[in-house]
Subunit: 482 residues, 2 copies
């Protein structure tokens, strides 16, 4: 009887073709323009306006993937992708994710798949160990880790847990009634402002503390602002310190900020979304000095640790503060294991109830590479960034804007802002490489973020040659016009 | 040189083995106990306490998957899984998800992969068409759809957007200062209460409206409560109506509730997380009568539409209300396409910034099955549930608690609560089937939720025989003891 499903045999056949399709993709990835060249609306217009009434052959779907979708892809996995921040994946991660999709478990509570919970707990304890994190972040102590989807969600989770601790869990009941105030730096990721808004605190009650010439938060300014706010009857409750800001990988002084937080009874959240991966190498661990003063900490294996989106690791020092904030137990989820308190139910650790088997891909990555393999690639990326920086320094026309601490180089052509934007757009439009910009001290800065899985020395070198040649060409044109 | 990566050739080999592994899993899935039989801590204890220093062979990872992880899986994809609600997947979905993992794009804004945005927009317009949703939910009108991870996140998104509309976008600035009040029924999913807490409204300001004998919200009680709250100087701002509650698939009267919301200027969110899939069939569309009065609506293809977690479809009537609430535009994300306003940037439609290529698996599912294939399976599931209900009615020892409207049967043994819990636990411990309970009017009710991809008539029949035989056996034992 026709039942519309693929049979297991058809799945074997189509699945293996897709495995080959992905391998082919990586073998040919340098042939695609890194930045998609389509115009707004072009992809949508290529797709039928009406949904299919009847099912279509699998070959047709794959054909349309090639013919209609691929031109609209910006190739984050290209070795010539240097935009924003890395979002690198790896073959082991893809395969771990495939197993997760295949099993299709819903791990909202321990009982609905004990392995989904316990593997996550174990793997996050492993990472805490691998990265020399404080004992209190481990499940064997007072804290523990949970995989969130993104650092934005971790920020929201931290803000809400901090709000509840500060108001003795009253805000959850009465709404936000106290005059809470939070602190970030002017360089902190925008997701913190978004979290403060979502949590009902209000952006007026978020202070953006000044930064120093390295774009790191100035602790004395934080201290001053907290005093002023207290004088005005406000209740300081939350500070976010960043290890590696998005714009320039600036490093906030976690220890000094943490000591202020201790004294002022503020929740300290540390956002190490991208740079956190570097903590796998001992030589970068000074960047997290003081992290034992943090109440929560997050970093994204889905940025620089070869693991597919979504995978943000969120550790807390005291898991009860999280559970007291987010727990809700309706009758239909009651079960023996939860009642004994012997297990973690991760739905009480975050916004969502439903959750897939989130840790499998991370487990595959860590076991495949081992600490040693991860360190190897982190060091390679940092080395390539440092090399790039040295070429910039050696050139007459370009300059370094911030000394690169790890894998991001902030530089600019010595010409004006317009020229830098024009240079970036011209390079990006060639499709041969892709990088992005930011503004620091109100000036356009070009960002070369090095961290894709398959980026090698030759890619970085060729991209530098391309940037230099493009700049020379544009300068010549400009002079010809004048 | 050793670079620790899998080569494309190794990926082909290991990937194809995993495809076979998944096919084998589905061919043998009935041999596993549906509910995992492990004890708390058992899986964790089987895994090394220390992370691997050196990478391990892929074969070892797969070996440990079989030997250490599989016993801790509760098999949501088993045809004998009738717990909670379905979380069904399908081979096309698994393959669509695999392509998404392989491409590894980060679709936070249009420019970072135009296809990730535009395919999502198109597919959600398709679904609106397929399900006869109001025009305003389409991107071609004032609204549009976005894929959220879960219905919990949709609820939070709706509550926050409603909060902002009600306070003229002041709460985002000042924090929650007005005395807002929200309304759900006593049967509404707990995620709404969680959302109200997270958004800084406070659970004291959430009213749980009484339900009728079918567990549907009583609109006259809603009206009365709103009047009373207004008299007390509160500002009613949000109502959630449910199409298919979690406990019993109760259907709130959306039209009557919607008319009250219109008159009282409240945001109406409709939560159709599980039952929403039924709207693919014309004969169930009366259940959504009045949905054109809604401001937002969500349903989960990851529950009953053969699509892997995470996949929650969230439609709004007015996308500007969403964007005005959630938009933040830092310099490093500025780009030409966004500035022209010609594109959607989905990071402004939800909590997260980063997002994978979320629509691919849904596109694979819709194209593979077509509207016709989806309807076929929805109707099969409903028919099986109705058959199960008829067997319950025919038996002397069991009774139907709520007349099943679609695919959930709420029933109980005519004995007491303890007996029903004992019966359920005994059946679940056999590993042959898995179902769960709830409470309605303070009595234990057993729930038979039918919606797994591979559930056939024979599975449902055998499970009913097992439940009956187990009940007889337990009764006999009880009598023997007395």
């Amino acid at each position: 009887m026709k039942n519309y499903h693929l049979t297991p045999e058809q799945f074997r056949e189509e699945g293996k073709k897709i495995i080959d399709w992905i391998a082919d993709y990586y073998e040919n990835i340098e042939k695609y323009p890194v930045l998609s060249q389509v115009e707004p609306g072009e992809i949508k217009a290529s797709l039928p306006e009406q949904p299919p009434q009847k099912g279509e052959p699998f070959s047709q779907i794959m054909h349309d993937l090639d013919e209609k979708i691929m031109s609209g892809i910006t190739h984050w996995q290209s070795p010539n992708f240097y935009g924003y921040f890395p979002s690198n994946t790896s073959f082991p991660s893809i395969l771990g994710d495939l197993v997760s999709s295949g099993l299709g478990v819903q791990g909202m509570i321990w009982a609905t798949s004990p392995a989904a919970t316990e593997l996550e707990t174990r793997v996050l304890d492993w990472l805490a160990e691998m990265m020399d994190m404080p004992e209190k972040f481990k499940s064997t102590s007072t804290g523990g880790g949970v995989i969130q989807d993104t650092a934005s969600t971790s920020a929201l989770t931290a803000v809400i847990a901090a709000r509840e601790r500060a108001t003795k869990y009253e805000s959850n009941k009465t709404g936000v009634r106290q005059k809470l105030v939070a602190y970030v730096s002017s360089q902190t990721h925008s997701s913190l402002e978004k979290a403060i808004k979502m949590a009902g605190i209000g952006s007026e009650n978020l202070r953006m503390i000044d930064v120093d010439d390295q774009f790191a938060m100035r602790p004395e300014m934080l201290q001053k602002q907290i005093q002023e706010d207290k004088k005005n009857g406000l209740l300081p409750f939350f500070v976010c310190a960043t290890i590696g800001t998005t714009s320039s990988t600036a490093m906030d002084p976690v220890r000094e900020i943490g000591e202020i937080c201790r004294a002022e009874n503020c929740w300290l959240h540390v956002d190490a979304a991208m740079a956190g991966t570097a903590m796998a190498c001992p030589e970068f661990r000074h960047l997290k000095d003081g992290v034992e003063l943090a109440d929560s900490y997050c970093f994204n294996p889905h940025k620089w640790m070869f693991t597919n989106l979504d995978c943000d690791v969120f550790w807390v020092a005291n898991r009860n503060e999280l559970i007291n904030t987010f727990s809700i137990l309706p009758e239909y989820l009651k079960n023996k294991a939860t009642e004994t308190g012997a297990v973690f139910d991760y739905r009480d650790w975050h916004v969502q109830l439903g959750r897939r088997f989130r840790s499998l891909k991370l487990w595959f990555v860590i076991r495949h590479y081992g600490a040693e393999g991860l360190q190897f690639h982190i060091r390679k990326h940092v080395e390539m960034a440092q090399n790039f920086a040295s070429w910039v320094r050696e050139s007459d026309d370009f300059e370094i804007v911030v000394e690169p601490q790890i894998n991001l180089v902030c530089f600019r052509h010595k010409s004006d802002d317009d020229f830098n934007m024009k240079l970036m757009n011209t390079v990006n439009e060639t499709g041969k490489a892709f990088f992005t910009h930011t503004k620091l001290n109100n000036r356009v800065v070009l960002r070369m973020s090095i961290g894709q899985t398959h980026t090698e020395e030759r890619h970085v070198k060729e991209t530098w040659q391309l940037i230099k040649a493009t700049a020379e060409h544009l300068l010549k044109n400009r002079k010809a016009k004048n």
